[in-house]
Point group: C2
Chain length 353, copies 2
Amino acid sequence: MKKHNFSAGPCILPQEVLQKASEAVLNFNDDNLSLIEISHRSKPFVEVIEKARSLALELLGLENKGYQALFLQGGASLEFLMVAYNLLDKKAAYLNTGTWADKAIKEAKAFGEVVEIGSSKDKGYNYIPKGYTIPEDADYFHCTSNNTVAGTQMKDFPETNIPLICDMSSDIFSRQLDFEKFDLIYAGAQKNMGPAGATLVIIKEEILGKVERHIPSMLNYQIHIDKDSMFNTPSVFAIYVSMLTLQWLKDLGGIEFIEEVNNKKAALLYDEIDRNPLFKGIVAKEDRSTMNATFTLTDDSLKEKFDSMCKEAGISGINGHRSVGGYRASMYNALPLYSVQALVDVMKSLSPS
Amino acid sequence: MKKHNFSAGPCILPQEVLQKASEAVLNFNDDNLSLIEISHRSKPFVEVIEKARSLALELLGLENKGYQALFLQGGASLEFLMVAYNLLDKKAAYLNTGTWADKAIKEAKAFGEVVEIGSSKDKGYNYIPKGYTIPEDADYFHCTSNNTVAGTQMKDFPETNIPLICDMSSDIFSRQLDFEKFDLIYAGAQKNMGPAGATLVIIKEEILGKVERHIPSMLNYQIHIDKDSMFNTPSVFAIYVSMLTLQWLKDLGGIEFIEEVNNKKAALLYDEIDRNPLFKGIVAKEDRSTMNATFTLTDDSLKEKFDSMCKEAGISGINGHRSVGGYRASMYNALPLYSVQALVDVMKSLSPS
Ligand SMILES: Cc1ncc(COP(=O)(O)O)c(C=O)c1O
Ligand SMILES: Cc1ncc(COP(=O)(O)O)c(C=O)c1O
Ligand SMILES: [Mg+2]
Ligand SMILES: [Mg+2]
Ligand SMILES: [Mg+2]
Ligand SMILES: [Mg+2]
């Protein structure tokens, strides 16, 4: 039987997408060739990448609004660097909501002044800082919509006149937002989109071309745009599976539909965490992530018992990140409600002795 | 029926590897989870990447000799940049044997003086420059072992006291070389190793740490070495398939074995090109690549006929690169001898009218 996969990323993907991906590895498009042994410049693959790019914009409601969608390599970590390389002229503002934001800040510092306008580092990133002020003379403001590690999520995004840049690696396509507010969104594919190995970058083209420094070709957004996201050989398989997953989401009813499901899943689990005296949540209630729910046992001596009950029930991937401990149940788009129910059932049946 | 796949890259992979990869997308290790939905830090995947890294060194005879193997993202094109970022202090020497060497040169120029010590650009890169001198005061010498586009291949590599760096994207693992001569070898996976989306970098650790500039984390070889090639989420699927392909090669008898097969395939095709008055080779005979054979028809009016005969015979991917024209038959490790025979049979049966 298939496991209940709560992995934080790479993570669960829709079963029908896995089925199609598996078939394409043997015979793609009924053309008697594998998807992974055809030229990336062949018509069938160009169609795949173009479809993936347009589905991404369509699902976000960003078609024909000056945005471009790119599928690059290097993960979100390379975007920490590319954002600064392409956009940081003198000064940039960052919100530090966790490990990943912290790494983005570290990479940016080599390119100019970095102002950390808010941070929740003091409390192990267990909340989202609020009431911060964005300096109007910064080149951009960078934030992380969802802290995958601690399990916090930004519910509001500030109004600002400077470019708004967001690392949405762990909650892109999971909820409706006013995406037009953002000038650059990036996300490693390996959560709500596909396998590891591709990064989606959504960029409002007009924000480019404002720094003087030389930008190496592979790090230059404008070059990737000019080359239709095929400056060099792209990550064919990861892009194909992303395209299938985006199509799956569109067929279901898009972000509007999946947001409701995600809210139901999150409510089911958080309600049990709150109700059950044997569990407690880790982060501030109003900042709880719908994607990654973190919690601990109130009595550590129950750990072995709870872990073995989870294993018995086919529940996989709920160990907390090594920097936080406890448990983390990741409930990405492809995780069915019944998997959350299975976890909640185990929590309910855990007895104090 | 499976086609005869002469694609220049991404390209043919062993059928048994495709079979295993297809299965792993549904159920990896009989663990009821897909390979692409498990954590890259889980034991099963850590074993995969470690095995891929050690197989790469083992096949090249570079184990326990101060080398590290990394599987990075970004393709060979990102290595054009990383090589210069990590190693170019004042001056570097490059041999310009084609489009890819030319791009490597372009990226390096932003980091210091680049001396082009030889070039075959004057004749459309249809030969390998010889008799060049490597300046002893350069930080390194960079060359491209096989020009995938024009179909030339370096048969000898110079003796030098400065670090020898080689882009082996299109002929790594295809022939025996004194690999210890090289200090850094890189190759996009998508020829002799696996699908697009991973890049193999083999690096002699002692050459690092000699430049002063700040090197961003994702571009820093030392950081990737220190993190066992897992600084961030690696390209899981591409690395898994590379591991399978390297294991396939080892089981066959390694590079020693495949080199003989590759020589037979190349001899079969080049003999026909030379024998048959309707075809002629494009590059200098002594520099002909065993991987990519380029040729043209001596009578262009036969093109339509030849193309349809090829199609009829299930021959795929032999169009020349758009910058060269004519035909290019790529004969990577996984291409069976019978596929070359099929092409030669068609060439033999082509009649002048
Ligand atoms: C929010 C966030 N940003 C960035 C990253 C880093 O992504 P990658 O490993 O693709 O570089 C992650 C990885 O989990 C993440 O969750
Ligand atoms: C010799 C050589 N170097 C570099 C490249 C560029 O590789 P990538 O597309 O992975 O960046 C290629 C691609 O075909 C190549 O053949
Ligand atoms: Mg704005
Ligand atoms: Mg409770
Ligand atoms: Mg040497
Ligand atoms: Mg001839």
